[in-house]
């Protein structure tokens, strides 16, 4: 039975590059997939593209491509990535430029397009789930709208001979599902195999999170050589059953426990993991250790797709001002609390227009509020005071007030930091898939 080997080159936009190079060189891979797009990255990238039509793709594309392209060319590994972000065509052009500089003549790079639906959405018909209103009724400045594409566009690009496929917004598992559809000739209504291929993608899409990353809890869950954590490989057969493994000699491990944690990561109803190409059913998945760092994953299933695509809308939401200051030693908690009380009083007195205020003590209640209160007094606390405002100027006043605590607050405050930021937030809705067309553009170095 035919099998293919798919490796993960990145599980998020800022992921480490060295393990990807390692996989490209020694993984005997057929495909190396880089998942680099967080929920709001594409909205920020869209803003960059508005200022510069050649911008809007992943800033790490340059380093990643330079590091892996020569090796992938030599070993015959095809690369798939959503590093195209808001501008897959510019990303592909830049990749071609890098390939030429590296002497990789003839390298074929495809840019998959169609996810940008800002001009496609109907203001009257498109409903924003979180806001419970139509796009037309949404009172915020919308800057991007991207549909989560399925595997189709990537499969077409692979069929056309692409060595590198760059997408914008695509469902993360779809980037891993696409090479399976292409290599095994799966039909797009073979729901069981599409479900299994999605399962493989889901297990791989967060990179090190299935090989021992995000897992260690010393004394309970010890992970060997976490500093040299290796990225995962899936050996998939034509029925979509797989073994998850990693390179020998790399840190971390692959075992049933790491695979179970990743199986349920960001999953709601395990019977209905809704994807563009299929509703994957993880509810009866079997996870079996079959050797050192080798875990067999089987019995995934699938149901017919919904016919709708999730669309992420990026919009300018608000501004945020934040300041922090530390107190330590005896009475640190009381002095920190006094500082918070003063800050609240002062922003009210000076009339700062704020939509939301959050004051907390890091080390006491910043994560679990007062739900997990402890009787032990921490030896140090950090005041965190954060306020949502309508403009950056007002937001800046928050940090200034925290800084003023040096001379005008409790004793012994130190280490002030302050910041402001504009919040680009995301809401979502559903779009019938026949409202958009996926296509690709091929370029050759």
């Amino acid at each position: 039975m035919k099998t293919i080997r798919i490796g993960t080159g990145a599980g998020f936009s800022g992921d480490r590059i060295e393990p990807a190079v390692d996989l490209a060189a020694k993984g005997n891979l057929d495909y190396l997939v880089f998942e680099c797009l967080a929920e709001r990255t594409i909205a920020l990238a869209q803003q960059a593209k508005m200022h510069d039509p050649n911008a809007g793709f992943d800033p790490l594309l340059e380093r990643r491509m330079r590091a892996v392209l020569p090796i992938c060319r030599e070993k015959g590994v095809r690369v798939i990535s959503n590093m195209g972000a808001a501008n897959p065509v510019a990303a592909a052009k830049h990749t071609i430029k890098i390939a030429r500089e590296l002497g990789l003549s003839g390298l074929r790079v495809a840019a998959v397009q169609g996810d940008n639906v800002l001009d496609v959405l109907s203001p009257d018909a498109f409903v924003i789930d979180e806001a419970n209103c139509t796009l037309g009724e949404f009172k915020k400045e919308v800057i991007s709208a991207n549909a989560y594409l399925g595997a189709g566009g990537i499969v077409d690009a692979l069929k056309a001979g692409a060595d590198v496929v760059l997408t914008g917004r695509a469902a993360d598992p779809a980037m891993f599902l696409a090479p399976q559809i292409f290599e095994f000739g799966w039909q797009m209504d073979d729901w069981t195999r599409l479900g299994r291929g999605t399962l493989v993608g889901h297990l791989l899409e967060c990179g090190g999170q299935v090989t021992g990353g995000y897992f260690a809890d010393p004394g309970l869950k010890d992970v060997p050589d976490l500093a040299n954590l290796g990225f995962p490989i899936a050996e998939v057969d034509e029925d979509g059953n797989a073994v998850i493994t990693k390179l020998p000699g790399t840190g971390g491990f692959v075992n049933a426990a790491t695979c179970k944690e990743q199986l349920l990561y960001e999953v709601h109803d395990p019977k209905r993991y809704i994807q563009p190409d299929v509703i994957a059913d993880f509810s009866a998945v079997q996870i079996t250790e079959v050797g050192p760092d080798r875990v067999a994953v089987s019995n995934g299933d699938g149901l017919p797709k919904t016919g709708s695509l999730k669309v992420s809308i990026g919009y300018i939401d608000s501004c945020v001002g934040e300041g922090q200051i530390s107190y330590a030693g005896p009475g640190a908690v009381e002095r920190g609390q006094l500082a918070l009380d003063i800050l609240l009083q002062r922003i009210e007195q000076i009339g700062i227009a704020c939509d939301e205020v959050r004051g907390e003590l890091i080390g006491v209640n910043s994560i679990f509020k007062d739900v997990a209160a402890s009787d032990c007094a921490p030896s140090e606390v950090r005041v965190r005071f954060v306020v949502r405002t309508r403009d950056l100027q007002t937001a800046a006043r928050i940090g200034e007030e925290v800084e003023s605590l040096y001379l005008n607050g409790p004793a012994g405050g130190g280490g002030v930091t302050k910041s402001t930021r504009e919040i680009v937030a995301i809401v979502s809705g559903l779009l019938p898939e026949d409202r958009l067309a996926t296509r690709f553009e091929m370029m050759e170095a």
């Binding site: 929920e39 349920l264 960001e266 509810s283």
Partner: protein
């Protein structure tokens, strides 16, 4: 005994919804999870951290529960003012749930 002694956990986020898995280290502890780690107890244990409902899903073949917690992330990851907007730390809170196991 705490849940941490018999199970491990990971949190995931989507918008304003958090999901937390609870996975038994040993198959023989699965019935304990099923009986004692109920949606109601989980909801109570998170208290004011969760504003919406908690729904439990069961995966007996791998000894795992999955809790989906609504209105759990301060309005959503991308606009929350929280220090941990993804709610990544929520699994560590759930693992402190008291468990009664006779050994």
């Amino acid at each position: 005994m705490q849940l941490r002694d018999i199970a491990h956990s990971r949190t995931g986020d989507k918008g304003n919804i958090s999901n937390v898995s609870v996975i038994a280290y040993r198959p023989e502890d699965w019935p304990v999870l099923l009986e004692q780690v109920t949606a109601e107890r989980v909801r109570d244990h998170f208290g004011s951290l969760i504003e919406g409902d908690v729904v439990r899903y069961e995966l007996p073949q791998i000894g795992a529960l999955n809790f989906v917690m609504y209105e759990a992330l301060g309005g959503g990851v991308t606009r929350s003012l929280a220090l941990d907007p993804h709610g990544k730390c929520l699994s560590s809170r759930l693992l402190t749930l008291p468990i009664d196991v006779q050994r």
